[in-house]
Subunit: 150 residues, 2 copies
DNA sequence: TTAAAGAGTACCGATTTAGTCCTATTGGGA
DNA sequence: TCCCAATAGGACTAAATCGGTACTCTTTAA
């Protein structure tokens, strides 16, 4: 019902992998191999994360990427924003000043902000540390595999 | 950061319009005109909503669509699911039985369920009646237009 | 019986997204 | 000081998705 981009998924997977041993530096090649993400794509994602200051990069030989902050301080919301960018929910909310012709509708659409906020809050409540927890150890949420919705 | 499809947006807009006078029957043409949604697309959306039992349809002349339930009983989550379908957040969660090669990652990805649930809960908390409230009358959430994120 | 309405389906076209490649820059070590 | 390993950045291509359109069938009231 709501789609998360693959790149964002990759980002979370790779960051979770890095969260296992904070402070360590990982090269793109190593991360790509361990997370089964195609290397060029992994490189792209890592660059985005570094640009958003979620990762610290070290160039040159023996270089690589490391978490810029403790995993518990990095939220899923941040990761998604870093990769997918701040995409608005509807055109009317996109900060564009143009009205959509039907004034009344424009104002109605403002109510999306309430939905936006609810979702953002939800995503900000989940940290990278939460995601890195092996599934078995995570609090049991009911397992309905066919569900998979958001 | 998370994109809602245009069709889902249209759906909410049209349903909100209909919520203004429950019990009334609206033709596709009229709804399309009043909500500034292209008519063929409006027809498509309305069919989807009818199929999901959010709308009741009346065929034949003098026919049209009407809300199947009170606006307060229809959640935004239902509307989005009706239009966009239950799209999974990641491939691993899609109910597919195939593993992604890296076992440990698969289990990690299970933690997405927590995120999924949080978002679904958020969307289920907002009803069509909430969305139909003119913006001015809605409880004031801070107005940061540049935000527009989800 | 006819016209007005929705139901269903199949199909394009355009946009977006994922993925690839190339070049520049940086830094460590021999 | 030179070379190699590694990231930075951007341009480009391919593919998947989504928005939109068209056509035919069914229903129903006048």
């Amino acid at each position: 019902m709501i789609r998360l981009s693959k790149l964002a998924d990759y980002a979370v997977v790779m960051l979770s992998y890095m969260a296992a041993r904070e402070g360590e530096v990982y090269t793109t090649a190593r991360l790509a191999e361990r997370t089964a993400v195609p290397e060029p794509t992994a490189a792209k994602v890592l660059k985005l994360l570094a640009r958003s200051a979620l990762l610290e990069s070290q160039r040159g030989s023996n270089g690589g990427y490391g978490l810029a902050r403790p995993a518990a301080d990095i939220t899923v919301a941040e990761i998604i924003v870093a990769v997918d960018g701040p995409i608005a929910l509807t055109a009317c909310v996109e900060g564009s000043s143009e009205h959509c012709g039907v004034e009344q509708l424009c104002s109605m659409r403002g109510n999306w902000n309430r939905v936006n906020r609810a979702i953002r809050d939800a995503l900000e409540d989940v940290t990278l540390a939460d995601m890195a927890v092996p599934f078995a150890a995570a609090p049991v949420l009911e397992r309905r595999p066919e569900q998979g919705l958001v």
